[in-house]
């Protein structure tokens, strides 16, 4: 690998001002919204697909590790480069190429910001459904790489359910198309395979997405509960009466008080937990469901169920939910977010376990998560300057993820495996199962030029690179 030898070549492709390689410039690209850091050797800003292709050809020929980067809002290290590697940043490929109302599709470049697309088509009554909490900043290219979710994925599905085609630059530099505007394309579903491949198969340069029609009617309810346990049991009680809300979010008491102090969303300060429940669809259906959901909440010992009276009140409740992570920044220098998933019926148990983990490792853990999907986001507070505490944070998070696996769940619902959970993959998959995935990656990215050392674990003998805390957890479990 000799990145410095090719920086001039990269400048010839994209222009003088579109390559950064001074240490003080590339430092800005060494992190994402997670906890890991690694400084790239250079950052290149292509403006079109052809340039991406030429960059990939140079990188492959010189075995320079490459990672695509959108807004760097990811939580699993997906957009972090290898030390000294090359970052392809998509901030100059941020155009909405086409809005095709007849086909309910848009074609966008990877650097388009998620919320920007919905705002762009709003006047047509349309929107792009995946809505990660970071949707004001995160890019659709990043959403595709990580197969991102969000609160409303409960009803509408995650990114892969909303992408029908991708233009991809392969590590060889070849530009290829998978799928198109049709809902499904004949042959292997390469689009479905590509979405969520975490930048290890190719780099997308144009994405064909579904545009959804906005619902006629929305009801946003806030179920207020004395205890986390009552709120947790209500989650499966709602689905048991045959209702699938558009979103079903839970915030525990500690988290909602922290948020309330930050942005005054109107959350009750003395509650044990709240459920933020959104119903959408035909007016008649939504009104019936709102009554039924309120009754279920009351039967499960809710103190009260409030309903947003207008769009302002609704927006405020959602602001509170989506600003949760920002609110924590006020009370703690750092926080670590996990992304475990459990079957819905296991939510009460896992929340109890998270409480125990907090005590065991002497850490404050808040919970704000997609309860309807069983997708947890325990937020563990810490101070990065305290190395010993950080080790406890990692150990606590692996402990929680192991619990998720033990009850039939997964280590990631929407943030991706990335760097930090790569070795946890062995607990979900056998060596043989991982080998199948590795052979698929190698079919496209055999030299691991693209996003090396992400998602799929290294062979077993390389385990010594893992953190001490994770080794301790593994040792305890006899692995």
């Amino acid at each position: 690998m000799n990145l410095h030898g090719v920086v001039d070549d990269l400048r010839k492709i994209v222009g003088q001002d579109a390559v950064l390689d001074r240490p003080e410039d590339v430092m800005l690209y060494e992190y994402d919204a997670g906890v890991r850091k690694s400084t790239p050797g250079a950052v290149v800003f292509p403006q079109n697909t052809q340039q991406v292709s030429e960059i990939m050809r140079i990188a492959s020929a010189n075995r320079i590790p490459v990672v695509g980067r959108g807004a760097g809002t990811g939580l699993s290290g997906g957009a972090i480069s290898q030390a000294g590697g090359l970052v392809i940043a998509f901030s100059r490929m941020n155009r909405i190429l086409e809005v095709d109302v007849e086909n309910a599709r848009a074609v966008v470049q990877p650097g388009v910001v998620n919320l920007q697309l919905s705002e762009h088509v709003s006047h047509l009554g349309l929107y792009f459904a995946p809505d990660p909490s970071s949707q004001k900043a995160c890019t659709i290219g990043g959403n595709v790489a990580e197969n991102s979710g969000g609160p409303h994925t409960l009803l509408h599905g995650v990114t892969v359910n909303h992408v029908t085609g991708v233009e991809v630059v392969l590590p060889s530099g070849e530009i290829v198309q998978f799928g198109g505007k049709a809902a499904e394309s004949f042959g292997y579903d390469m689009t479905g395979f590509f979405v969520g491949s975490e930048g290890t198969v190719g780099i997308t340069t144009a994405i064909t997405v579904k545009l959804m029609r906005k619902a006629e009617h929305v009801a946003t309810l806030l179920g207020v509960f004395e205890s986390v346990d009552d709120a947790a049991r209500t989650v499966s009680a709602i689905t048991a009466v045959g209702i699938t809300p558009a979103a079903l979010e839970m915030l525990d008491g500690w988290t909602l008080r922290t948020i309330e102090a930050f942005c005054h969303a109107g959350f009750p300060l003395d509650a044990g937990a709240v459920l933020l429940i959104e119903l959408e669809g035909l007016r008649e259906a939504v009104e019936e469901q709102a009554v039924a959901v309120s009754e279920v909440c009351m039967r499960q010992k809710a103190r009260e169920v409030r309903r947003a009276k207008n769009e302002d009140e609704r927006a405020l409740l959602w602001k509170g939910r989506k600003m949760a992570f920002a609110a924590l920044g006020r009370v703690s220098p750092s926080y670590y977010t996990q992304d475990g998933v459990v079957p819905r019926s296991k939510i009460p148990g896992v929340l109890q376990h998270i409480g125990e983990v907090g005590k065991k490792y002497d850490l404050i853990i808040g919970n704000v998560f997609h309860a309807g999907d069983g997708n947890l986001h325990p937020l563990i507070l810490f101070d990065m300057r305290n190395a010993e505490q950080f080790e406890r944070v990692l150990a606590a998070s692996y402990d929680i993820l192991q619990y998720c696996i033990d009850v039939g769940g997964s280590i990631t619902g929407e943030h991706g495996v990335g760097m930090e959970k790569r070795d946890m993959m062995r607990r979900l998959f056998t060596d043989e199962e991982l080998d199948v995935m590795i052979s698929l990656r190698n079919a496209f990215n055999g030299d691991e030029v693209l996003n090396p050392e992400k998602m799929l674990p290294m062979p077993r003998m390389c385990r010594e690179i893992m953190g001490a805390s994770q080794n301790a957890v593994l040792a305890r479990e006899g692995m």
Binding site: S185, I243, L282
Partner: protein, 442 residues
Amino acid sequence: MSTVTTPVRFTRELREICGAGYVIEDPDRLERAQILGVTPAVAVEPASTEEVAAVLSFANVQGLSVVPAGGFTQQQKGNVPSHIDVLLYTSRLTGVEHYDPGDLTIGIGAGCTIAQLSSKVGADGLLFAGDAPLPERATVGGLLATSMTGPLRHGYGGLRDYCIGIKFVTGDGRKGKGGGRVVKNVAGFDMMKLLIGSWGTLAIITGAGFKLFPAPRQTRTFVAGFATAAEAIQYRNAVLRSPLSPICLELVSPQAGALLPGGGRAGKAWSVYLRAAGSEAVLGRYRTELGAAIALEIDGHNEHDVWRAMEDFSNTLPEHYPDSVLLSLSLPLADVQPVLNELESVAASRGLTLATIGTVGVGRLLAGLWPATGSKANLVAAVSAFRDRLPRDASATVLHCPDEVRTQAAAWEKTPTHFDSMRAIKRAMDPKDILNCGRFLF
């Protein structure tokens, strides 16, 4: 035509793997299991994923071709297999891996029939949305491999939207897995997507997990009649732009309607069948929104029968018209109307009868063409002419055709997806090309 392919010289090993009682060598039984005229040399019924892996490892080393089989409802579709050394039945892979109605998920063996699965979850008020043709025989594995779901595709999405986990064995005998038992999961490659619709050419599916839905407590079907396809498509567009969210939305041509119970109920040439779920108040709203175009409402047994007939359409059409070509098309929404026009013009200019039915709200269309009078010669020409006029993002394949047309049909498949990338996937999962040789893509 019947071809026994390879001399049986490997049954001893297969008996060791599956047990003597589960290796079928009886010529009559094998003859009955022929696929498009090709008779398997031997058939096996493994009892577990491990046994499937052992069979495939052995076959891979020996270079034997293997064809997976479920309920044999879709085996006569696609291209003719080049040869079949081992037919592998999934009939003994029927165990329930996990099922908790409160989770709205189930994990089940590939050999379980769709009817068994639906009845199991239906008892708890839940719905499995994969409405396969011939559900009493069709299996979970076969449904995933062929992706042949029916009208519920409109309201509940395709298998790619609600299959949450998959277990399989690759062509070289590796036991693989994707996803798991939770509804949201992005750990590792999405193997479900690769295997859905891969027609058994990448791996043999041994089990799968699904998201389930609350079963609608009440449904009603509204039928609207139109003089032309163009008017029917306009009506589809109006429904898609409306606040309504029907669970099914099907376009039925006059000739297709003749194959449904009641044969063309709306009394006009083209029909749109819309199925709604909800309370009386909700159904009342549908009635108001759908307006004067509604010629008929159906509920109860009649409703059940008409949707069942639509689910089975891809099988009943070739039964009624063995000389037909049955095309499966996936189109961008705006291309449905022009493609219908092309089909009509191609059929009319070559003396062919055309029947079309489709989940047109998601761009899916089945089109059957058959000679109105005797000669099949025009079929090949018609199909070739039509293929050349397909729009850019269209996908198309021939599900059924008379033998005379088959050699032409193999070259007919169309997709916007990069072919060499699909070939790279095939090589990674079935390096010796032993799975379903010659039937799909390669």
